[in-house]
Assembly symmetry: C2
Homo-oligomer: 519 residues x 2
């Protein structure tokens, strides 16, 4: 393992904090958030039990269809699943009520994902909260060049911008698709970029079992093989094929991560009415069933492997059938899903800064807030899609990335809630001058001046006249200025040159070992 | 009282619903919302008691300063207050712990505010939620003409746009300042506009006791004097003069409304660090003390008069001292204030769609959502500032008004929460085709297709290519198109001509009775 130094965090923001540039809030910086407020629980016991019973019925009476992975089917058969072979490559498997729940008892409620800089290790589960950038967009966009396919340079840019922000805790995974790199080699460049340009934890490849294996192998180079065997240093984000199907690429990938003792996230991506019932209660039940079975694949492969229960609840336009993101119904659905995750005692990934807008405009942030606040309040532990999401996840936006980062900063303060002490109650501050006198100069005000409120990097709070004189600049334009300034100021965190060489060598050898594939 | 017919609601939207224009959601229309989700309670019993004890100490040890209204001081003296005369026009009054709480026991937990159309009556308090437009901006703005002083025409426009929307439940009060009308006559035109162009409940004038009296008198013309004496048909929104002062205009106005059996809202507008402690716990305690004493003025004048406890918690820029709105700290503060209001068993006004942005941009909706969701979740009953708020309340924006209305519609669905029944659990829908098959054509999907998700009037959910071909229009521009189309389609709700004449006559006589005053 390379020898990271906590001092390297200095490359991210500390210098700016000293000269007081906008958006610095050193009192709020932390490697991950520990929530100071309770979750928002909206459903009572009876309703929760009805949803759980429906999930049980789905698993017991409809079953999950596995494809192209007889080993996974065999694991479930041995564990008590009722397998029906449908054809050469497809098996339906039904699970008696309680069976999957029993298997999941070996999964940890909380686990550590290690970063190459130990100061950036994150705790996944419990009251802990981790913000990670958006994941999986083929396009990128910015105000200067509009929408275009993502490249490796874009990918590296987003990793760098994330690394520079104190308000993310995790480097994410496919921050955008580097479409200028062959499909079968992208994972090598992506994993290297996370390792080299960030010193936070990250996600590895899931698009093929051998790419998952490469991701883990690169971690062995970076962290050392023994360390990797004993600790979670990488996670994969796996989607079920809803409704109720798990393909072989996915189940083999999950097992690859689990076998190595690494983490996996188990995500049903449910567009209500398309791949799940149109009504939210039904989508939630199906989501629970799918994610539980997916988590169980990892537990059967290696009991105790870290897993994250997940949900991506979505809606559709009642006019066109188009998917819609950041709407009200999935937001309340996510609150319920959080309650169910806690009853399973599993870490949760849920929602994020979703939007269908094509611009970093009012729609973008209205929808993002609807979705993101549900993630905050439902008790989600790992918030993928915390920054950059636009265009229904088809585009990663440079400006939206900065808007979302600024929001993530404010959420650090939100999670702290209202602290009640003699000092914060401020009776003496009010008594000092009494009725009718302002409190600007009280000792209490001066004492709390720098920490009472989050200082936004992007909000305009000036008088209208000043804003007008300065050119009537909107928030998206301010974000455009900011991401360029941030990228220009980026400095890579230090890395032992021998480790860097070993990683580059691994990438080069792997790339040389196969022809380019573009699909 | 004029004879309103429930059929008049037809002028608002029903026709549009039939031909399926965007934004119609007839299943969500209702005269006010009854919340289907619990409140979000973030503080425990000990912390709540500490805040209440601090509010008690503020009232008992610092006291409230009354100005220019010896009658109010005399009422409190008789009720047990400890009065110290400071000079000819100022008195400090201290209240023993529990005294104000005892006085407030006569206030109703829930009351009805009547509209001239009884179908639009609202219930204030309990689980009921009422959205009202923003209040008090001297300026208006739109994308075509930018910012300028508000006029009576603007005022009428906002009343009309509000009336046309199914997502507001109340016509509000000073939707903008009609600065082209003399200050001492504005209230007459404003109250007339609410009565004539809307058939929902509204707020009256509070800027002088005689204007409060005129507002009530006009209600007697519209509803009949006996009806007004027995029912709440108008409310006034009264601000304390923080910290801890109540001026005579305010206390006399409160008594004017209470004397007539009408409602009053009791609002401390607290900019933390300026007129209240910088730390949120202290602001909340002070807010509670001020609003409770203000409510007590009404109860002493006429026990049982409808009152609404209120809060407007705000923060400031740590750089400039400028007020900031829609930030995280007041949002969590509002959640706590909601808990305190319920312990007093009083209706609550709290937060709204706040922003300091000068444009209907990303900042506007990010901040608006932060604040509005806190109002939704804290259990607020009356949400003033639900639509139009920009520029730190200095400007009422036509476009923001439409954005906020669309959000208010979505919140109707949010408040319904997740409904769990055999039908919404949708097991049969999933079982119908089984794993791997989409659900577009299931009976369940077809049955719920029109009501499962809110249909936004303004969101763009199209594919990027379609949006691009149509001119890359942002949400603010869509809102600009929409408010113009809505205004062009406006039809006034019917009114008995004799009542209309009587109202116009009252306004004309009052205006003729005094010279214009412009300050």
């Amino acid at each position: 393992m390379s020898e990271p130094s906590t001092g390297r965090r200095r490359s991210r923001g500390k210098r700016e904090a000293r000269d007081g540039a906008p958006g610095q809030n050193p009192h709020l910086e932390r490697p991950y958030i520990k929530r100071g407020i309770p979750t928002y629980d909206i459903l009572g016991e009876d309703a929760l039990q009805q949803i759980e019973a429906t999930a049980d019925r789905i698993m017991a009476e409809i079953g999950i269809e596995f494809r192209d992975d007889s080993d996974t089917v065999e694991m479930f058969r041995k564990a008590g699943g009722e397998v029906t072979q449908l054809d050469d490559t497809r098996w339906n498997t039904k699970f008696a009520p309680g069976m999957i729940r029993e298997i999941l008892k070996t999964a940890p409620a909380v686990f550590t994902q290690h970063a190459r800089n130990p100061a950036n290790n994150v705790e996944v589960g419990g009251d802990n909260v981790i913000f990670a950038p958006s994941y999986g967009s083929p396009f990128v966009m910015d105000l200067d060049k509009g929408r275009r396919y993502g490249t490796l340079e874009d990918f590296q840019n987003f990793v760098k911008l994330g690394q520079m922000s104190p308000w993310l805790h995790h480097s994410g995974g496919t921050v955008c698709e580097p479409t200028d790199v062959p499909v079968n080699k992208r994972h090598l460049d992506m994993v290297y970029a996370h390792m080299r340009y960030s010193d936070r934890p990250f996600l590895g490849s899931v698009t093929a079992p051998e790419r998952a294996a490469d991701s883990v192998e690169m971690c062995r180079v970076l962290f050392g093989a023994d360390f990797v065997d004993q600790n979670c240093v990488i996670m994969g984000n796996f989607n079920t094929t809803s409704p109720l199907v798990m393909d072989g690429i996915t189940t083999q990938g999950i097992r690859e991560y689990a076998k190595a003792g690494q983490g996996s996230i188990h995500l049903p991506f449910l567009l209500g009415g398309a791949v799940s019932p149109l009504t939210m209660a039904g989508s939630i039940a199906q989501c629970l069933a799918e994610s539980m079975v997916s988590c169980a694949v990892a537990q059967l492969e290696r009991p105790g492997a870290p897993v994250v229960l997940a949900s991506f609840l979505s809606s559709m336009s009642l006019r066109s059938g188009s998917p819609t993101f950041g709407t009200a119904e999935p937001a309340v659905g996510s609150l319920v899903y959080g309650q169910l995750a806690r009853r399973l005692n599993l870490p949760l990934r849920c929602a994020g800064n979703f939007s269908t807008s094509k611009l970093p405009d009012a729609q973008a942030m209205q929808q993002a807030m609807m979705s993101m606040m549900s993630a905050v309040q439902c008790g989600a532990n790992y918030l993928l899609h915390s920054a950059g999401f636009l265009d229904g996840l088809l585009s990663m936006s440079y400006e939206k990335f900065m808007l979302d980062l600024d929001l993530c900063g404010a959420l650090h303060s939100y999670y702290d809630g209202v602290v009640v002490t003699e000092d914060t109650l401020g009776f003496d501050a009010l008594a000092e001058k009494g009725p009718g006198e302002h409190l600007f100069a009280t000792a209490h005000t001066l004492r709390h001046y720098k920490t009472a409120y989050y200082d936004s990097a992007l909000d305009d709070n000036q008088p209208w006249e000043t804003w007008d004189e300065q050119g009537e600049i909107d928030m998206a334009t301010r974000a455009n200025t900011r991401w360029k300034a941030q990228l220009a100021a980026y400095e890579a965190p230090g890395m032992d040159p021998a480790t860097d060489e070993a990683l580059k060598d691994f990438v080069a050898r792997k790339k040389a070992s196969m022809d380019d594939a573009w699909y």
